[in-house]
């Protein structure tokens, strides 16, 4: 099971947080801070797994992360997930974002966090991996967006282009 998926930048600012178990807002912020603290002090060329988050999980839990330019993608998972599998999944996630946003950068995540959530929802559901095939994910996301567009009025679509 995946317990949480966090994206934050090099300064620890959260860009996306998805918890598959309930915490109150303060604890969530604490977890983000703690995770950032753990992950950010690690060198670039060390391994992508680490243990030791106190707030989330405990000994059974691992943080699996990847660092892309200005962003950290962190998955907190228990021992039923394969480390390399999750690492692969992060890669799929980032590539999907890249396809959907066309050359994704931090700004896309800042302004369109709702879209990122929608993409993530096609990959992971309730803490379990739903789909790992990138093409399938993109197909579903696209057709949902198409549906959304057909529903919106002219007024709003002009706005969205702005």
């Amino acid at each position: 099971m995946i317990k949480a998926i966090l994206i934050f930048n090099n300064h620890g600012k959260p860009r996306l947080s998805k918890f598959y178990e309930h915490y109150n807002e303060d604890t969530e912020q604490q977890i983000i801070r703690e995770t950032f603290h753990l992950v950010s002090k690690r060198d670039e060329n060390v391994c992508n797994f680490l243990e030791g988050g106190m707030l989330i999980g405990g000994s059974d839990y691992r943080l699996i992360y990847r660092h892309y330019a200005t962003l950290y993608f962190v998955f907190c998972v228990d021992s039923s997930e394969s480390e390399l599998g999750i690492l692969d999944l992060i890669q799929v996630f980032v590539e999907t974002l890249d396809k959907c946003f066309e050359n994704v950068c931090e700004l896309d995540l800042i302004f369109h966090v709702d879209k990122v959530h929608n993409i993530l929802a096609e990959m992971v559901m309730g803490g379990m991996v739903l789909e790992t095939n990138m093409n399938e994910i993109i197909t579903q996301v696209d057709s949902q967006n198409k549906m959304e567009k057909s529903e919106t009025f002219i007024f709003q679509s002009t706005r969205q282009d702005r």
């Binding site: 391994c47 992508n48 394969s82 959530h117 379990m128 579903q140 057709s143």
Partner: protein
């Protein structure tokens, strides 16, 4: 209609959307919180509008704010509204918001059941999909029960997109509503062979999660998975299946053999993908299939992929795999010792931690010293306390595992422990301390050495207490003091140690350590006396007594009860001894008798062997069990009847006693580990304890702090010697036998069993002497302390009276000022300035403190700071000494003694208010917190300090809560309230003034008033009900009160009494 929609859309153009919000936040970096709070106000306005588009936009923004840490649960209902929109766009926004902030205790969730059901059966697959995704995040047991059937139908939906989501969510449904597993399982199994790979993968996923919880039930699926493994091409599915087999093979060993072939096939198939996956395969396998450990060795050392990142990944995973193998086949891992020790040097902390885990299983008698030496090197080099602490615990774990079986020389171990105390800022002082105690008690031969070391530690105690950061390590002094006291007969120079233990610096140590210091100083004193009385000159002995009498008062003044009690008891004792000494009476023998008897290690289960005294039935009720109906039947009709008071009170204590008796017996059974056997040494069975004294080939006296390294060398030498001796013996034997067969042992390196330990540990697991009247010896000194206790009590009472007087004064003051505005909270305690004690006589300030109450454990205290002097005050810091019960809430990351900065400065004559949050655990007793306010006076730029006290009265925990008379009556009839009453004489106020006072100062509300009689009600922040019945006749006021917490009630009544005694 159309017009309305168009109008709505035009309106929307002027609203902020998510992007605008984000942009706005980014433009207001300085006052982000303020900007967001205005945004939230706007959002609240938007949520009030009818247009669903506006609402959806608002909810979308809220979802973003939630991520930033703002509580948005207040909008839960609006989220449900947006969820139920017919448009997919808004529905999706609604479900996303719900999945982010709904949880089991969100009450509007129960409104969603029908909406979700409708969405699940929607013709649009994405409506269904979005509902499933949302539900997976906030499913509750109720929702699971109500929707399980709908989801089960979806599992055979025509669209694979829906099928896979439905299959996956079933796991969540099983978790919340386990009854659904049985009917759903056949269909789930069917989905393993679904034509769509996505659905298949989802089914595998769910079954793997289920099997992890209970593998046994899924063994029957093994053939099916076997087939999947050979046919599936999806790597994700394969990895999951292999993990599943990892869990299954321990249950069914035959499975392992069957798996080898398909696995090797897989490995070949994956050869083109760098050995990553291969390695991973092995890792998942390893738990079940030991044969493959050899291949892991290959992947750790063998040709590794070009990319350096892969190297670290493989290294980590390889170590992870090894730790799994270690559990089943320790031998195969032990051969990689060097490799693993190398990993300790790795710069990656994750890898180092993994390697450390492995070391635990690899030590033997032969290599323990070497490994620990390596670890000690790492301890010195390590940066960051977490890793160092981890190292420290590992060293201790490794050494102490299975009753110190790998330690051959305990002097070495003690030296290691002493070396560890020199670590900066470790949290594990208590761990080291407990090891020291354990070793000193159980290894008798080591005591002389240990005592010498501990004496040095005590002598150098300033090294440990000097730095605030080293707080954790001072725990070690606890052990040091105890060992020196208990085994004081081994001390080289007891007088010096005694002096070290009574240094004034000791008063800065934590209370429990001081207590041990005091107690053991007394033991030492006894030993010193004994040695000195032997001499002809009696002055030395008297000087020692004098030393005790001079130094002990320091501890008598301690704030810690334990220290105070022990110190005053011992001080009195020493005074008595001195009296006797002056009469030239020999007292040493008698003093020593106080601490006579020796500690014997006793197995944890030893208590079982103590026979239960005849006639004691542990299961029998001490008193008759209370009958449940009793109270209801007999309850008098009159609400505040006196008889009832008695009745309920006694009942209460009875239950307590019973519980107490039970608890204490249970504790006895589990907790006693060490018992004093004392004079009962000769009791049969004591000899069973294996205590083997071995003469030491190592010189015992080591000057200064020991270095553990030398032991490694010495140990080598010792073994060498033993080996030579053995050889000699063997030779002799051989000669006798006439040159018999050669033994392997001679040529090869010595085997494990040949290494004889230098010291033996008392290993007591089950057997233990029949000890019955064990503790008799120790009771003596307790008796003498009784006297002292009484005296102390008196002193305490006196003190309390003084405090009350003081308190009285404050109250009066604040009443006169009439400054405090009380909302739902209470005013409390203010301290008038001790202006005289100030260096600046012109500056004067006033704090006015009001409690403001929130939820069950938090109290907000607002303090008004008023600058009455002519100078500018700045850098104010507010600090309170926390008590066990109440703590000042400090920002994250600050220590428990740090002050809080007051967020403003004060020009002359200005006052301002600051709020501080306290957490309070128990609210039944009033309490005072001492605090200080430090500040800088601008002109003189000196630091000034102002002491104050915060008084949390019980009344301040009460909240004015209105109560209707029928509810009030019901409450009183419920019968679970305890009763108490108070009489006030000489109250001349009119009755309505009196009521107003109680309402104002103690937060009651009047429920009903009839003539000169009124009933009042209030509630505490933790939900205790407090009911009052106030009657007046002439100048006498009688208050009968009821509350479910008698202590609280008593205190509130006391406070009411006080209020009226002031006027």
């Amino acid at each position: 209609m159309a017009l309305k929609i168009v109008k709505g859309s035009i309106d929307r153009m002027f609203d902020k959307n998510l992007q605008d919000l984000v942009r706005g936040i980014r433009n207001h970096k300085e006052d982000e919180a303020k900007y967001i709070s205005t945004c939230i106000d706007e959002i609240k306005q938007e949520l009030k509008q009818d247009n669903i588009a506006v609402k959806a936009n608002a909810v979308c923004k809220l979802t973003y704010l939630q991520m930033l840490g703002y509580d948005v649960s207040w909008a839960a209902f609006n989220i449900v509204e947006v969820m139920s929109s017919s448009k997919f766009t808004y529905k999706r926004i609604g479900y996303l918001a719900a999945s982010q902030c709904f949880h089991e205790s969100t009450d509007v969730i129960m409104l969603t059941t029908n909406q979700i059901r409708k969405d699940l059966s929607s013709p649009n697959q994405y409506d269904t999909g979005v509902a499933l995704t949302g539900l997976s995040c906030f499913v509750t047991p109720d929702l699971a029960r109500d929707l399980a059937n709908d989801i089960m139908t979806l599992m055979s939906h025509t669209k694979p997109y829906i099928r896979k989501k439905a299959v996956l969510i079933m796991y969540k449904v099983f978790l919340k509503y386990p009854e659904s597993l049985r009917p759903a399982f056949p269909r789930l199994k069917e989905k393993l062979e679904d034509p769509d790979p996505g659905v298949q993968s989802a089914a595998v996923n769910v079954i793997c999660e289920l099997a992890r919880r209970n593998p046994k039930n899924y063994l029957s699926l093994a053939p099916l998975f076997f087939k999947l493994m050979t046919s599936s091409t999806n790597n994700w599915v394969l990895i999951k299946i292999i993990k599943l087999f990892g869990a299954l093979t321990p249950l069914e060993p035959r499975l392992g053999k069957k798996l080898i072939e398909p696995l090797t096939n897989l490995i070949h198939r994956w050869e083109e993908i760098p050995s990553l996956k291969v390695c991973h395969m092995l890792i998942s396998l390893s738990s079940g299939m030991p044969n493959h450990s050899a291949s892991i060795q290959v992947s750790l050392r063998g040709p590794l992929p070009i990319n350096s990142m892969f190297v670290v990944l493989v290294k980590y995973l390889g170590l992870l795999a090894m730790s799994k193998i270690l559990k089943t086949h320790p031998k195969s891992v032990q051969s990689h010792k060097d490799l693993i020790l190398q990993c300790l040097d790795d710069k990656d902390e994750s890898i180092r931690l993994r390697a450390l885990d492995l070391l635990y299983g690899m030590v033997s008698k032969k290599n323990l010293m070497e490994i620990v030496k390596k670890l000690m090197l790492h301890v010195d080099k390590a940066e960051g306390t977490t890793y160092r602490d981890e190292l420290l615990t590992k060293i201790i774990d490794i050494c102490s595992q299975s009753n110190y079986q790998y330690i051959t020389n305990f002097e070495w171990y003690i030296s290691i422990l002493v070396e560890l105390t020199r670590l900066e800022g470790t949290r594990h002082g208590h761990l080291i301390a407990s090891q020291m105690l354990d070793v000193a008690i159980r290894v008798k031969a080591i005591r002389v050495f240990a005592v010498a070391q501990m004496a040095t530690l005590l002598d150098n105690a300033h090294l440990m207490t000097g730095n605030v950061q080293r707080k954790g390590i001072c725990e070690v002094l606890y052990a040091a003091a105890w060992i020196c006291g208990e085994f004081s007969e081994h001390l080289e120079n007891p007088t010096q140690t005694l002096e070290a233990m009574l240094r004034p610096k000791v008063a800065t140590l934590p209370g429990h350590i001081q207590a041990v210091y005091v107690q053991n100083a007394a033991k030492l004193f006894a030993t010193v006396l004994k040695s000195q009385e032997g001499n002809t000159d009696s002055t030395a002995a008297q000087e020692t007594s004098q030393l005790m009498i001079e130094r002990l008062p320091l501890f008598v003044q301690s704030a810690n009860l334990e220290v105070q009690e022990r110190a005053s008891c011992i001080l009195q004792l020493v005074k008595y001894i001195q009296k006797l000494q002056q009469k030239d009476v020999e007292v040493a023998e008698e003093v020593i008798a106080l601490f006579d008897g020796e500690l014997n290690p006793v197995a944890p289960k030893a208590q079982k062997k103590v026979p239960v005294p005849e006639g004691l039935d542990l299961d029998a009720w001490i008193n008759e069990p209370p009958s449940e109906s009793e109270s209801e039947d007999d309850q008098p009709k009159a609400i505040f009847a006196k008889e009832e008071t008695k009745h309920s009170r006694t009942r209460h204590t009875e239950v307590d006693e019973k519980e107490l008796a039970k608890v204490s017996w249970a504790e006895h059974a589990t907790q006693i580990v060490y018992l004093y056997s004392g004079v009962y040494q000769e009791a049969p069975g004591v000899e069973h304890i294996p205590v083997v004294q071995i003469d030491l080939s190592v010189p015992l006296k080591v000057p200064g702090l020991p270095m553990s390294d030398q032991y490694v060398k010495l140990e080598e030498e010792r073994r060498q010697k033993e080996r030579v001796e053995k050889k000699k013996k063997d030779k002799k034997k051989r000669k006798e036998k006439g040159g018999g067969r050669r033994k392997k042992r001679d040529s090869g390196p010595e085997s494990e069993e040949d290494i004889t330990p230098a010291h033996m540990v008392d290993i007591v697991t089950e057997e233990m002497p029949e000890v019955q009247q064990i503790c008799a010896n120790r009771t003596k000194d307790k008796k003498s302390s009784k006297h002292k206790k009484k005296k102390q009590k008196k002193e305490k009472e006196d003190k309390e009276k003084k405090k009350k007087k003081k308190h009285h004064h404050h109250h009066h003051h604040s009443d006169g000022g009439g400054e405090e505005s009380v909302q739902n909270g209470t005013m409390e305690e203010e301290e008038p300035l001790p202006v005289t004690s100030f260096s600046l006589s012109s500056s004067s300030k006033e704090n006015d403190i009001q409690g403001n109450l929130q939820d069950g454990s938090q109290v907000v205290v607002s303090v008004i700071f008023e600058n009455k002097c002519d100078s500018f005050l700045k850098s104010m810091e507010f600090n309170v000494l926390d008590s066990l019960n109440s703590k000042l809430q400090r920002p994250e990351g600050s220590g428990p003694h740090d002050g809080l900065t007051v967020p403003f400065q004060l020009p002359p004559g200005v006052s301002n208010e600051a709020r501080f949050v306290f957490t309070v655990q128990s609210i039944v007793m009033p309490q005072k917190l001492k605090g200080t306010l430090t500040f800088i006076v601008k002109d003189s730029s000196t630091h000034e300090k102002l002491d104050f006290k915060l008084h949390f009265t019980c009344s301040s925990y009460l909240i004015t809560t209105p109560c209707y008379s029928d509810a009030f009556a019901k409450l009183l009839e419920s019968g679970d309230l305890k009763c108490s009453s108070v009489r006030l004489e000489g109250v001349s106020q009119p009755f309505h003034h009196l009521l107003a006072r109680i309402c104002f100062h103690h937060h009651f509300s009047v429920v009903e008033r009839v003539d000169s009689c009124a009933s009042m009600y209030s509630r505490s922040i933790q939900g205790h009900h407090v009911c009052l019945l106030v009657k007046t006749s002439g100048q006498t006021v009688s208050i009968d009160a009821k509350c479910d917490e008698p202590t609280l009630l008593g205190n509130v009544l006391d406070e009411i009494k006080q209020t009226f005694s002031q006027c």
